[in-house]
Symmetry: C2
Subunit: 271 residues, 2 copies
């Protein structure tokens, strides 16, 4: 195979297999090419990936070594994306009765969801996450986007037990905003003991849901290494019960009468 063909094939391979360690012989055999040619290919792929701001190739020396693609999303690209999202969300037609904000179109766009996953994932890149955990329903697509980026599985906490998943662990918790007692369930076999997890959700108000998840995860002796949300509500009347989290945007000053809304960048860049 010629260099030009190899580069197209390799680019696809790395993008498809983030974080997987590939011994060099894999490529020399796959492409029937000399080690020196493959090494030159890898230099090119690495350079262009860095220029495009999508990550880099990491080379590990030694017998158990090889090369792997570490996805990255630059802080500049992240902030650019966050600012564009803020403008998009400030459209007053998004205001719903009760002062809520319509975001289903954003969360329904796979490309947008993917970008959000990259931004959140890049913030947790070094946290050695083994599993992404979310709670049904709206956080699910974001959780998969982050998990794809980190190349780890997703576990979904449910609010209702399903007969089809075997024995479960459940907890009751008090919702932060409504003060109601709610239930959360996780099937026993869905999470191994002591895993490093990252919690992902679409929206955080007082943080009751995330506190509930943290309690449920404690039953599995999980280490909550990171918490990421797309949006947080900037509500000064309520005490936030979750402290260590990363948010991309902050929704404040929803004025239903004046049809005005303010959407600001979250704490992403202050971490």
């Amino acid at each position: 195979m010629k260099r030009s063909d190899r580069l197209v094939s390799m680019t696809n391979y790395f993008l498809e297999n983030p974080r997987r360690l590939n011994p060099l012989p894999r490529f020399t055999e796959m492409y029937q090419a000399a080690k020196s040619s493959i090494s030159e290919d890898l230099v090119i792929v690495d350079r262009v990936f860095q220029e495009e701001g999508i990550g880099h190739l990491q080379t590990i020396a030694g017998a158990a070594g090889g090369v792997r693609y570490i996805p990255e999303f630059s802080t500049d690209s992240s902030l650019h994306f966050i600012n564009a999202l803020c403008s998009k969300l400030e459209d007053p037609v998004r205001i719903l009765p009760g002062g809520y904000l319509y975001m289903s179109d954003i969360l329904g766009d796979p490309k947008m969801v993917n970008q959000i996953g990259r931004v959140l994932g890049s913030a947790f890149s070094d946290a050695e996450i083994e599993v992404v955990v979310t709670v049904a329903t709206k956080g699910i697509p974001l959780a998969y986007a982050v998990a794809s980026y980190l190349a780890v599985p997703v576990v979904i906490v449910r609010r209702d037990p399903k007969v089809t998943e075997g024995s479960s662990v459940s907890i009751n918790y008090v919702s932060g905003s409504s003060r109601k007692i709610q239930t959360m369930v996780l099937p026993k076999r869905s999470l191994k003991e002591g895993a490093n997890v990252c919690i992902i959700d679409d929206f955080m108000k007082a943080g009751g849901t995330i506190t509930g998840m943290t309690s449920l995860l404690a039953e599995f002796n999980a280490n909550v290494k990171a918490i990421g949300v797309l949006a947080e509500a900037d509500d000064e009347e309520e005490d936030r019960v979750v402290e260590n989290y990363t948010s991309l945007i902050k929704i404040s000053n929803v004025d239903i009468k004046q049809k005005r809304i303010q959407v600001l960048p979250g704490n992403f860049n202050q971490k």
Copy 2:
């Protein structure tokens, strides 16, 4: 930029932007290269994409023309994937009380989910789908995977109305297997009138859920162009109420006493 660098950059661009029509000047400007060089690049990318079985570049002539990446997943690759999935699922430790099958690990693996999305998406590639519709909860990741492949948005039908999405249309339907009356809700602004939709779900037994979705979608005058499920239950005692669907696998003969289970390819290849 040199050809080698352009090829890496272009490959990433096309994989990131499936089905988007790109006028050639976009590339000549982006890479500061002559039209003839870009044309040669495109021939290389197209050839390798076809060899890799991931799709092809479609060229549209004329002033409004350009080039776009049409993702494809070959029937061979699909059948290979389906057969591997069947073997994986036949493991008797997956049998749950009640004769259900544990599949959460499969549905929790973003890479696996992506592959399922490719196989189902490739089956509906020519159906001019505008929106992928699913029902909470387990079908959601599959719906996003199919939608990414088809480059269209996802709309999620819920079983409980959420105050945060504005006015909704709801229907009651009779569940096929339990004969209970259930509710389904879709926010009004989430789906435009008369859209071409594809319904995706993880599992179909008698098909009551999908029939319910079809009724709800009729309220939006949607055209259900395709129905895709990961798994169907091969249950001869029940009459299937949905006829035109595509399934990847068929679960039959779950024998709890003998700890045996049979998982066969679905009707994917008979369509």
